[in-house]
């Protein structure tokens, strides 16, 4: 049985920009977690090693020599789209883009190509993905996660750790925790993630952590209502107090005109029968109650 979605113990990942400060630091942490980081790429640094991981000049070379199927990108924003194209052309099927501040025009091109190829793009501006006990392809602190039954999809980083920690303390644990990313254009939506969690036996309930900006939460609510989604879903939406027209830290967290307000998202969820937590700590509480009712715990 698949423990989680998108990545597992068999995932063989390369790190793009492995010799950079962030790339090197997180390569160490991912290796410590047991993730198979099989190679790294930094143009011009081919032939060197980072934490014993061999470095190549091109993704093609790294992927072919080490039979890789995933990539995690730390490449700076002006070159990040190119890095994603290089990974896609080398046939890597799961790409995590940690980089933030990627221009919208570039992100649109990357997502169009990914759709054509069937490549999963997580991010940009994401903490990554973790299937506890199996694989961590990201920068999240591993200690707040534990193998379990809740699937988490989120648009933020630290807030996700806050809520995940609560779910761990409540003894529910996570099947997979995935950061969709804080940018306006991101590769995965709540709907696509819900579909995957729906098919995953390990996942008994889903937590959606949204925020102001865009309408991915509204679309998720509509999907849950119309498809009759069977697993319990609990949501939290950050930014009730955010003033319109102001970017709240994330490039994607902005209320424009009448779209993207927390109120619209919360109302959509409520209408779809999704319970919305008022405070981060309530997510785990509501999940526990729901799962107890469904006799999973």
């Amino acid at each position: 049985m698949d423990m989680g979605i998108f990545v597992d113990k068999q995932t063989r990942a390369i790190v793009q920009a492995i010799t950079g400060e962030q790339g090197s630091f997180h390569t160490r942490l991912m290796l410590d977690y047991g993730t198979k980081i099989v190679a790294g790429v930094t143009p011009g640094k081919g032939g060197t090693k980072v934490h014993d991981v061999p470095v190549y000049d091109t993704v093609k070379e790294a992927a072919e020599k080490h039979n890789a199927n995933a990539s995690i990108i730390f490449v700076p924003a002006p070159f990040a789209a190119e890095a994603a194209f290089e990974a896609m052309e080398a046939n890597l099927k799961t790409i995590v883009m940690i980089t933030e501040h990627i221009p919208i025009k570039d992100a649109i091109r990357v997502m169009a190509k990914a759709k054509q190829l069937g490549t999963i793009v997580i991010g940009p501006n994401t903490p990554g993905i973790i299937v506890p006990g199996e694989c961590k392809l990201g920068i999240m602190p591993a200690h707040v996660f534990e193998r379990g039954i809740v699937g988490i999809a989120s648009r933020s980083g630290t807030l996700t750790y806050e809520i995940a920690a609560g779910i761990t303390v409540a003894d529910l644990g996570q099947s997979t925790c995935i950061g969709l990313g804080g940018d306006p254009i991101i590769g995965l939506s709540f709907v696509e993630t819900l579909k995957q969690f729906g098919k995953n036996d390990q996942t008994k309930a889903v937590a959606l952590i949204g925020e102001i900006g865009g309408n991915l939460e509204e679309l998720a609510a509509a999907f849950i209502a119309t498809e009759g989604y069977e697993k319990p879903v609990v949501a939290y939406v950050a930014g009730r107090t955010a003033p319109p027209g102001k970017r709240m830290g994330h490039a994607g967290a902005i209320v424009m005109g009448r779209t993207g307000t927390a109120r619209s998202k919360i109302e959509a969820f409520s209408k779809a029968g999704v319970q919305v937590a008022e405070m981060p700590s309530e997510v785990a509480k509501i999940l526990s109650q729901r799962l107890m009712k469904e006799k999973y715990i």
């Binding site: 924003a77 501040h101 990627i102 221009p103 919208i104 025009k105 992100a107 649109i108 091109r109 997502m111 169009a112 054509q116 903490p127 920068i139 999240m140 602190p141 200690h143 707040v144 989120s154 648009r155 933020s156 980083g157 630290t158 807030l159 750790y161 806050e162 920690a165 804080g182 306006p184 254009i185 991101i186 939506s189 925020e211 102001i212 900006g213 865009g214 309408n215 991915l216 679309l219 939290y236 950050a238 930014g239 009730r240 107090t241 955010a242 003033p243 102001k246 970017r247 709240m248 830290g249 994330h250 490039a251 994607g252 967290a253 009448r258 927390a262 008022e278 405070m279 981060p280 700590s281």
Partner: protein, 389 residues
């Protein structure tokens, strides 16, 4: 980044899109000269970046150069919707047979650009979409094909034009798309796009918003100081200098946290407990002691603030660095206001130790800490609950 109407129009003109004749003026005398040169009835338009300018009295008509001078005098230097008018655009007045709408923007959910057009221009497109959704034509642009001339012709046809006029409109739409991609826009808009009595078209008002993340490709805007920027508060300016995400709010509880989502959730929680946040401040991931102390100083320097809430969950951020940053601020400027600290996560023990040794109490529940700081702020920031002073 939003461009002023006159800046946007220069770019539209560069792409061969017809716009009314006009020039910018910063004094009433200049406005008179421009009107005299144009030698036709004009509009005098306040150059501000807020929406709803017309309704707020920011656009005046003038039939003579003298009237243009008086209109400019009325507008220049006054505040419209809280923003001072730095300049006016004096422009030929065009009689409209019809007012249309055309814009290119981003559809986040479908991850593509979208062309939006309507035969009902002159009001906000969102209003048209609510009142007459059948009048809004949307074409989602497949990034692989792009917006081709045949798409532009389809759009022109769907808003009711045929023959030569359809071709002329389509050519304008196509140019706007070209401009939109060249300039990395979030929005490029002509509203209204006017159909003149002679059947030709002109972009009477234009808006351009450029993607901040693509700024590095458009250095020509680098030294551009907007009204918005000149109006920054000292806190906003300092935060911008240090690359911190800071947004000023209306309340009296200063907030420092790590991670945009967590800080937003902190503001919301404060409000649930009946408090009012004074700001949004994200120290960012992996913040050093130095960055933490800079952030705390910014919040403390805000005179409206009478209590501060530090909410940190360490992931790549280390609690000991945060603690050191807090102590550094106490050493340098002291704490004139009570501060509540919630600190958990990476190196939590070390962080707690540093602070408790220094006599500073640390909480671990975000909700408990939020409740506490709201009580303090309500007590006027008095000593009542002051954890640290």
């Amino acid at each position: 980044m939003k461009l002023f109407e006159y800046e946007a129009k220069k770019i539209f003109a560069k792409y061969g899109i017809p716009i009314p004749k006009g020039e910018i003026a910063t004094t009433p005398a200049e406005a008179r000269e421009v009107a005299a040169k144009l030698n036709v009835p004009v509009m005098v338009k306040a150059q501000i970046l807020v929406a709803g300018r017309g309704k707020a009295g920011g656009i005046l008509f003038a039939d003579t150069p003298k009237e243009a001078e008086l209109a400019a005098e009325k507008l220049l230097g006054v505040e419209i919707k809280g923003v001072r008018v730095p300049s006016v655009l004096v422009e030929e007045r065009i009689t409209a047979k019809n007012e249309l709408y055309f814009g290119i923007t981003v559809d986040r959910a479908l991850r593509c650009y979208v062309a939006v057009a309507s035969s009902e221009g002159g009001m906000e497109i969102e209003e048209v979409a609510t009142r007459m959704p059948e009048k809004v034509v949307k074409v989602f642009i497949n990034p692989i094909y792009g917006f081709q001339p045949y798409h532009a012709r389809q759009v022109a046809g769907r808003i009711g034009y045929a023959g030569k006029q359809m071709l002329s409109l389509a050519s304008t739409f196509f140019k706007v798309y070209k401009l939109a991609t060249d300039y990395d826009v979030e929005l490029a808009e002509m509203n209204p796009l006017i159909e003149k009595t002679n059947q030709e078209f002109a972009a009477a008002d234009t808006r351009l918003i450029i993607d901040d993340n693509a700024f590095y490709r458009h250095r020509e805007f680098e030294n551009r100081v907007t009204e918005e920027e000149t109006k920054l508060t000292p806190q906003e300016r300092e935060a911008q200098k240090r690359g911190l995400a800071y947004v000023k709010l209306d309340g009296n509880i200063g907030i420092v946290g790590n991670g945009a989502g967590l800080v937003m959730a902190t503001l919301d929680t404060i409000q649930l407990y009946g408090g009012n946040p004074a700001n949004f401040l994200d120290v960012g991931g992996g913040a050093s002691a130095e960055k933490m102390s800079a952030s705390l100083k910014i919040v403390l320097s805000d005179t409206r603030v009478n209590a501060v809430f530090i909410n940190v969950l360490g992931g790549i951020t280390r609690c000991d660095e945060i603690a050191k940053g807090v102590l550094e601020v106490r050493k340098q400027v002291g704490f004139a206001k009570p501060i509540v600290i919630r600190l958990v996560g990476t190196n939590e023990e070390e962080g707690r130790h540093i602070l408790t040794e220094a006599g500073i109490h640390v909480l671990s529940s975000m909700e408990e800490a939020a409740e506490k700081v709201v009580e303090m702020a309500k007590a006027g920031g008095s000593n009542g609950y002051g954890y640290i002073r």
